[in-house]
Structures are given as C-alpha cells and as structure tokens.
C-alpha cells in the first residue's frame, strides 16, 4: 500500500519535471529567414506535397526534390561526407561525386514518397552550435507509432541558412556516409568510390533528370 502511494508520488513528481523543462525552451533565432524558419518551411512544404492527393507519385518526387534541392547545401554536405578525402579528388571528380551523391540520396529517399501516412512534423527547439552552425530539432509524429526524432544541422552560406546534415534518432547522415565512404576509399581510392556510387545509381533507378535545379 505504501509502496503504491510512493509510486504515485513519484508519478506526480515526474509529471511536473517535463513541464518545467518545456517552459524553459527558447523561442529561436531571427524570424523570417532564420534556420528554424528554413526547417519549418521545408518540412511544411514537403508535407503539403506528400499530402496532396491530386499529384502522381512521380510529380510528388520531383516537387519534393525541388524543395529539398533549394534548402540543402549539397556542396557542403559532400565536403563533410568526404572530410579529409575531399582534397584527394580532382576538381572533376569532386563535381562528379557531388552529382552522383545527390542522385543517390534522392533515389533513396524519393522512394519513401509513396509511404506517407499522415505523419506530422513538430519543431521541438533550436539552438546555436559552438562554431556558428545551428541545430533545429524536430520530431515526426506518426499515428500510433513511436515518434521519430530528426535533427537538422544548418549553416549560413552566402547569407542564407542551408541544411548540411540530417540526424535521425542520433544517427548523423554525414557521419554514417563518411564511415562507409572511408571504407571504400581506403580499399580502392577515390576512383573506386565514384565507380561504386555510379553503379549503385544505375541499379537504383534514380529519377529521370529533372529540369536542372542546380545550385
């Protein structure tokens, strides 16, 4: 009996704590063009496309791609993914890598366009990172399933905030690809990496090249 009572006391205590934490959340950076606004507009635009029943799957994929291309800085992303290996690539190879990697990402994530089930995106908070980047934390709220935590890392490039990494449930896309590419490069150099990327794109039916929305 007393055990039960103390359990409920702890219950009350535990309930009070998150409320206090929620109050302390900071509102974020500048409005309008800040990093939080970027993520907010990117995710809501994407969801609007996904939820639009009048679009075909292909149309959806193209539209999502357009939105994402505008908001993600693929050059920085590519540099970060290759890290110190970036300078091992010739300029032409760097260009090729960027292009193939981008194609690969859109082929991979474009597939998910079809599996949209009314998920919603909530922005939890945003904060500055020690060296000037910004992190915006969001969660994908799914009907009945567990939420998925997704963080966006943004960097200011030529005055605009662009997404440079996506961290899903603590797993950074940049870090994860970096490990994989590192493995390939240390076994076969940059040539091998480009070859592997290219072959995967060939197999993975990437989108028919959309009217180039290049950066």
């Amino acid at each position: 009996m007393t055990a039960l009572r103390s359990a409920f006391l702890t219950l009350l205590l535990a309930c009070a704590l998150p409320c206090a934490a929620a109050l302390a959340a900071e509102p974020g950076a500048a409005d309008g063009s800040g990093p939080r606004a970027n993520v907010q507009s990117t995710t809501s635009q994407v969801i609007a496309v996904l939820a639009n029943g009048s679009l075909s799957v292909d149309q959806k994929r193209h539209k999502v791609e357009e939105i994402v291309y505008a908001q993600v800085d693929f050059e920085t992303l590519s540099r970060l993914v290759l890290a110190r290996n970036w300078s091992q690539l010739s300029e032409a190879q760097q260009k090729q890598f960027m292009e193939e990697f981008r194609q690969n990402l859109s082929a991979t994530y474009g597939r998910n366009v079809e599996s949209y089930k009314n998920e919603k995106v909530q922005i939890i908070e945003d904060h500055a990172e020690p060296r000037g980047d910004w992190t915006v934390r969001t969660k994908i709220v799914r009907n009945g399933s567990n939420d998925i935590n997704v963080d966006y890392r943004l960097r200011q490039v030529n005055g605009t905030w662009k997404i440079i990494d996506i961290i899903i449930e603590n797993v950074s896309l940049v870090a994860n690809f970096r490990s994989q590419f590192q493995e390939i490069i240390s076994n076969g150099g940059p040539t091998r990496l480009l070859q592997v990327l290219h072959e995967k794109n060939e197999r993975g039916e990437p989108l028919k090249a959309p009217a180039a929305a290049t950066s």
Binding site: L11, A14, Q182
Partner: protein, 273 residues
C-alpha cells in the same frame, strides 16, 4: 536454491566485468578522433566481425525475417506495439537498477513510476500510459553503466545472433542477463522462447527500416557499425535525441579541416564532460 543462484549470478557479473576490463586494458588504446581517419582502429577484428555479421544476416534473411513477416501479417500494428511495450516494461527493473548505478535518482523515480503505472493501468505492460504522463522510456543498461563509470568501450564486436556490440556492452549484456529478476527464479532455457518471441516481434516492427537500410547503404556492415556506435554514444552521454550537438567531438564532424590533431578522449569511449 535461489540464494545460491543469486550468489552465483553476482559472481558471474563480477567476473564478466573484470574480464571486460582486462580485455580492454590489453586491447589497443581505443580510437581517437571522432569520424576522422580510417576507423579501423576501433574495429581491429573487422575480418572476424564481418564473418559473424554475414552469418547473422543470413540467419535474419532466412529465418528471422520470414517469421517476422508472418507475424507481421497476422498481427496488426497495435498488437505488435503492445507486445513490444510488454517486453520493454519487463526490463524496467533493470533500467531502474542502472539508473541508480549511474546516480540518476530522478530517472530512477520516473522509471519506478513508469513501471508502476504500466504494470497496473497498462495491463502488465501491454499499454504505455506512462509516456503521455511525462514518464518517458529511458534506455539504460549495464553497458552504459560501465561506460558511466569510465570503462572504455573497447573494440567493436559483432556477437553471433545478438548483433553489434563492443567489449564493454558485451559485459553489460551479461550483467543485465543476471540482473534480470526472472533469471533468478526461472531456469535459463525456459526464458529462451520469450526472448525469441521478443526478437521476432521487434524484427516485425522494423521490416521496412531494415529493407531501406540495406538498399540505401553502400556497405551494410559499416552502416550498421556506425549507426550502432553513434546511437550508443548518444545513449551513454544522454544526449538529447537526435544529435551529437553541443559537444566538441560533434563539432569536429562538421569542421573536418579545422579539426586539430588531438589526443582527446576516445570517441564513444566514455562520457563526455
């Protein structure tokens, strides 16, 4: 009978901890520099690991996944989630124990409350009423406790059937096994069917994710290794979900050119200050 069993269990925990410490002490001085150079230094047993990984993947492909698919076909999502809740709830006492061993009384209180609510109102754990009440699920285990106490992670290790781990987490797994209250009263072989059931059920919840991961990755072995290490690191350091942010190690990832050669704490090795 049960008291000798407990004593034996405690002895084994102690032995496994010592063994883990000894092994890591003999191993390479762990890895340095997060996500930078060739990361073979924390995966020195890669050739063997890859073989075990290959074996596990085949067991998954030919046994676990088909069965999970069957279960997924029979059971609606709600059922799968309830079963998953049930097993998570069963683990609660271990979570509380590890909360306490890591000096996290607030989490321990929350987890005790969680266990109380979900076991009663939540019908022996099938429903999770505690999360909406502000008592979220914490993932604490003995591996994290060992890390919290400063034991280095040691080399990456793929365990047969159990998957990605490292020396420290393997010791933790053994510790958790013996700390499980069920293990004190019930023979180990009776506990196997529920374990298998749990594996099938969790796999059923991940059908799509695993398929995606395999298709998206260039090297599935490295994909899994990296994801495991990143997640374990975040759990160990209780990072807010979804980020390596705020830490210097996390920063190095995003400033590869600026990262000075440091001899800082090994990545994933221990709690960051």
């Amino acid at each position: 009978m049960s008291s000798t069993r407990i004593r034996a269990a405690l002895c084994l925990v102690a032995v496994s901890v010592l063994a883990a410490m000894g092994l890591t002490a003999c191993g390479p001085p762990a890895s340095r520099g997060l996500h930078t150079e060739a990361r073979t230094d924390y995966d020195p047993w890669q050739p063997l690991n890859r073989k075990i990984f290959w074996f596990n993947d085949h067991v998954d492909q030919y046994v676990l996944e088909p069965v999970a698919r069957g279960w997924d076909w029979i059971a609606p999502d709600v059922v799968e989630r309830s079963v998953s809740n049930f097993f998570v709830n069963l683990r609660s006492p271990i979570v509380v124990l590890n909360d306490l061993l890591q000096a996290k009384p607030k989490n321990a209180a929350s987890d005790i409350g969680r266990f109380a609510v979900n076991t009663t109102v939540g019908v022996v754990g099938f429903f999770d009423y505690a999360t909406p009440l502000g008592m979220p699920q914490h993932t604490e285990d003995f591996g994290q406790t060992l890390g919290w106490w400063g034991l280095p992670a040691g080399p990456y290790l793929v365990l047969p059937m159990l998957g990605p781990s490292n020396i420290r987490d393997t010791g933790g797994l053994i510790g958790d096994g013996f700390a499980s209250p069920a293990g004190w009263f019930i023979s180990w072989w009776i506990l196997i069917p529920p374990r298998v059931g749990e594996a099938i059920n969790s796999r059923a919840l991940l059908l799509k994710q695993v398929e995606e991961a395999k298709r998206a990755s260039f090297d599935y072995y490295v994909f899994v290794r990296d994801a495991y290490l990143q997640r374990r690191n975040a759990q160990l350091n209780d990072l807010s979900p979804g980020s390596t942010s705020g830490t210097e190690q996390g920063e190095d990832l995003y400033h590869p050119d600026a990262a000075p050669p440091r001899d800082a704490a090994p990545p994933y090795g221990g709690p960051q200050s």
